[in-house]
Amino acid sequence: MTEIPEHLLKRAQAARDKAAGSSDASASEGGDRIPDALLDRTKASGAGAAVVAAAPAGGVPVGAGPGGHTQRLLTVVKSGSIQEAKAAPVDKVHTWPHLLAVEFVAALALTAFLFVFSWVVNAPLLQAADFNNTPNPSKAPWYFLGLQELLTMFHPMIAGVTLPGMGLVALILAPYLDRNASNKPEDRKFMTSMMTMFLIFWAVLTIIGSFFRGPGFNFTFPWRDGIFFEL
């Protein structure tokens, strides 16, 4: 059995003493005592139940408590402890049809787009893989071309590991670093401009890597030497 902590035992004892002491005094004295009106009502209903039950059975009904009570007061709660609902009403709509219809249309539109696009444009399938024939240029998938572009500027360890690693950590930590609680655009000018700058920087790198890099990953102009880019 678990040990009951000392202070809880003391508190229980104090409560018991207090209850014993105050039961001698008049019930109407304490502020947090049960009001007389309620006690009277309880008595009345107890008596009433006994009378009602007595009529048909001529005795105490089965399952009744001491004194023939058929109802019990489960608990008395201090007024302060009752939770007050503070939730402000929120303007809500039914998920069906309002949200589901939107989702359905969006899904349908995307499916249609993908279907038509795939009907018209074929995915690339080049020659079978050949270890002895390195295409020039060799490019990573487009979403890594920003990284490949960084490789032309920095040591591979910085461009391939340190910078993307720092970017990822910064992304993960963003909600914990941004101490500004507001979500209003006008209060977040710093964060939005940081992100916008970062996105533009990244987009420019990706576009250069995709379209402005030719054989040897050297700089070219797509309108001069053609496009070296596969999806």
Partner: protein, 260 residues
Amino acid sequence: MAKVLDNPRPTLKERAAKIGAQIQGSQAWNSIFRPGSIFRKGYTDSPRNRSYVIMNSVLYHLHPVKVKRHAVKVSYTLCLGGLSFFVFILLTVTGIFLMFFYRPTGANAWEDIQTLQTSVTFGLLIRNMHRWGAHIMVLTVFLHMARVFYHGAYKPPREFNWVIGVVLLTLTLLLSFTGYLLPWDQLALWAVTVGTNMMGYTPVFGSQVRFVLLGGVEIGSETLLRWYVLHVLMLPFVIVIFMAIHFWRVRKDGGISGPL
């Protein structure tokens, strides 16, 4: 002389209605649809039935019965999270189709794709859908992240859902990248060579991780098998778990953020 038919043969409509009622009253039907399902009671538009559509169907796992009015405005979420999820489903369906025709070995992979495109009904179309769908998913997930950022929707209590989102972004990129190798053509081989060479520069454990991922020091048939298993089984499994947590948190954090 008019003949009174007091017991006319039932019309087709009446018979259909009777059969319908019998089916709907059967134990099998009632075991499939929960009490209160619109498939038991029928649907007429009423606030209560609108609630029942969600409450008594599997949709209740994804959506609450009611959502904030501004949350259904397309201009707020641009549907990007939902579309990311939907493309993922499309990719799963088309991907399963591709699996029937593809063997992940150096000797077979490229020819299987070639055969799929030339001699399998709808093979080319389905492969195109899978490939373009994969690019679209990278795009929608990325744009979804941007929209979440610009709305400040990562702020308390949604910080951790953002972190889960970053995991989802990483998993999406990995799924796309592992799939990139599978056609085993020149594009696949050398794109992945470039990509994995970068990995080798990670200090301390870089070359070990690269070795495990490639199944050797260079890309080869072992790499193909490894990336195939990652692509069709392990990464989808992991991403589905994180999506489940992501969606659950969206609801528990009080639905969509905002309005601004």
